[in-house]
Subunit: 417 residues, 2 copies
């Protein structure tokens, strides 16, 4: 049992929004506010950037009722960032600044809520603090609609995004098939390297109203096969609904989106290729090969913030992850990330466990090949069994004037003396 | 009081999907099934095309429980069409065929559920039947997310689309403003000539989380003004959220989308210009004028079928419209459309009335100029007062496996003897 560590707690949010990132922050903040060994509860404005900029919010000054609404409010209420820390052996200026700020506010508990880039950030900060003999417990709280974090059965944020995608696919299915005059509709769903989100469209197919063809980045994409598949469904059913991951690549690893546009060759700060416009391009390409009305629909960023159709299972698990991180740190955990373990047995149950940050940082978990059909254009029952429990239950987001009542925080900055 | 007319009833659905078109059909079908003077209740497969093709479903053979689910099921369950009847003075072949089919099935009540093109179709069919001394009562049931039908306070379908748009704008607002690094996000919302749907984004602004700038087709659009407006908000707030109608035009009436793409010069069967790609084009254009991260998001067809976030007010009114059409026809009404009248007084109340088809056919109702701000880039309180009551209440759509449980009809065709 570790010694009791007394000091302030700091939580930051990082990376792209999800519907439930605030549920995790709330789980952590509410638990921290009730812990005797925690002297202050800070939120970093825009993640690690807020630390570097000395912009910390005092979370104890918030109205508890507004805080509680964070459970159903999408996208980081504290603000987020995409900021990549250098290797501190190369450049330790950011790390020194972080150490200064942590020392200034006596931060002894640091929680970072994000994806695999964020777990890398956590891990590096913790190493630097240890090298400098600054005692601080660092625990990662997973978050990503992409569901691509290693060491966990699934990620908070995925269930809600999957529920939005499956629901919307069912609605588009109903829309795309009402004219009876023949059509090809291509849906572009997020996911650079892992096809989890696109695979969620198979939940709609499972309910009889989903894509006829589903292409994931896990399977090399071939334009000729795509056209042959599309033609086959078109000739049989008249209307074809297709889901593609933004990150589909050919057998040489070239993004299909780059076939159609030079724009997609851009990369972001992490060296990830930028995506977009693929649905329209593939739909147009299909129209050159078969005489059908075509349409491309990009789900875009709505899929990562559609809290109005959030999964209650996802929301409750996200909250549990934040709470578990705080509780584990108080008991001595550090350099770990909260993860989910699915209990064995016929009924779905999910437990919070801890995994080492170093095993999670910068690793991407993909959809298992054995869950994808042999033609590489659909998902098998094993995926449905995996994903269906994650989308159960409806959000309890309150409404006001018929619209979502999201949290409205005061976000009071600590006074700099 | 008209004579009692005994015979079959036929309902068809036409034009683009809405979240509540089936609620209207259900209101009509359920009322018809309980009327003694109505001998049979038919549904036309794919609207007037199903009449021409002699493809009618016998609605009495459906399971009443599945029928009842139509209330919450988006997009035409009977199938729809975009089929323009010729003027019968020029070519009456379609009309003769319709008369034959009506005679064959003894159709004495005809209900057509659609927008202004559909009301034109209704009106022409009724005139032809009268000229040929075939007694049939023809009543239109309004339906359009566009909300552009004349003679009615608002249209069934608009409230649900408006609720989806406002909800999604609030979620995107939260997403677009979390990085704090400056951005311009352009949202493209449906509406060729009338800005009702785009105006619905102002409901999100009213709740403090909506577009900073809203451009409707009712106001001539000027690229220089657009850039000046965007720059002003960008310099003040850092992140800019902009909603534009797909149909914004310049002072000469040229669609702005045609500035960027030749594709938009295509027209559909009704001579309407096809839209799309405007959000991305405007976002890219903005990026050439100011140094900001830009993004274009097209709401696309999800906005017309997002039943999962349907307005209960809209659903109940849509049902009422279908029921009122049937009841009015039984009492003798013909050549009319059901319309909505807003009762005076502080509390919202909507009554069904009848208006003449001829006054509705092919007329488009636009957003009143006096509801738009003087700069032409936002809506005034009068619009909020108009639209807010229409989005109240949540759909009672049942869920199964965490996903919508839509109606599953048998759609049994009448046997042709």
């Amino acid at each position: 049992m570790a010694n009791q560590l007394i000091g302030a707690c700091l939580i930051g949010q990082s990376g792209g929004p999800t519907s439930v990132i605030n549920a995790s922050a709330l789980g952590c903040i509410e638990a921290a506010l009730s812990e005797d060994c925690i002297t202050k509860v800070y939120g970093a404005a825009h993640g690690i950037k807020g630390v570097l900029d000395d912009r910390l919010f005092d979370m104890s000054l918030e109205d508890p009722k507004e805080l509680a609404l964070m459970k159903f409010t999408p996208s980081s209420v504290l603000g987020t960032c995409r900021y990549k820390l250098a290797d501190f052996l190369v450049d330790d200026s950011d790390y020194k600044r972080i150490l200064d700020i942590f020392t200034k506010y006596d931060v002894r508990y640091f929680f970072y809520n994000g994806g695999n880039d964020s777990m890398d950030t956590c891990s590096k900060i913790s190493s630097f603090l240890q090298l400098n003999n600054y005692e601080c417990r660092v625990v990662g709280i997973p978050k990503t609609i992409d569901n691509d974090l290693a060491g966990t059965d699934h990620c908070p944020g995925y269930g809600s995004a999957a529920k939005y995608i499956a629901t919307t696919c069912m609605e588009i299915y109903r829309d795309a098939k009402v004219y009876g005059t023949g059509s090809v509709t291509v849906l572009e769903i997020m996911g650079r390297n892992a096809g989890w989100l696109t695979a969620a469209s198979a939940l709609a197919t499972y309910k009889g109203m989903g894509p006829d063809l589903i292409y994931l980045p896990e399977v090399p994409f071939d334009l000729a096969d795509f056209i042959a598949d599309t033609k086959r469904v078109y000739e049989k059913d008249g209307d074809v609904l297709i889901a593609v991951s933004e990150g589909i690549k050919d057998k040489d690893g070239t993004y299909i989106s780059t076939y159609f546009s030079d724009l997609a060759k851009d990369t972001d700060a992490f060296g990830h290729a930028r995506m977009g416009g693929l649905a329209g391009s593939l739909a147009n390409f299909a129209s050159t090969k078969l005489d059908a009305k075509v349409r491309g629909i990009e789900f875009g960023l709505i899929q990562r913030c559609a809290a109005h159709v959030g999964s209650l299972t996802d929301i409750e698990e996200a909250y549990m992850a934040g709470k578990a991180a705080l509780e584990a740190a108080v008991l001595g955990a550090t350099d770990q990330m909260v993860a989910f373990e699915r209990a064995p047995g016929p009924n779905y149950k999910c437990n919070a466990i801890l995994v080492d940050l170093i095993d999670v940082a910068n690793v991407e978990k993909k959809v298992p090949k054995e869950w994808i059909n042999s033609a590489g254009n659909g998902l098998l029952q094993a995926f449905i069994d995996y994903a269906l429990p994650l989308i159960q239950g409806e959000t309890e987001l309150p409404k006001e004037d018929g619209l979502p009542r999201f949290a409205s925080l005061k976000k009071i900055l600590t006074v700099n003396e």
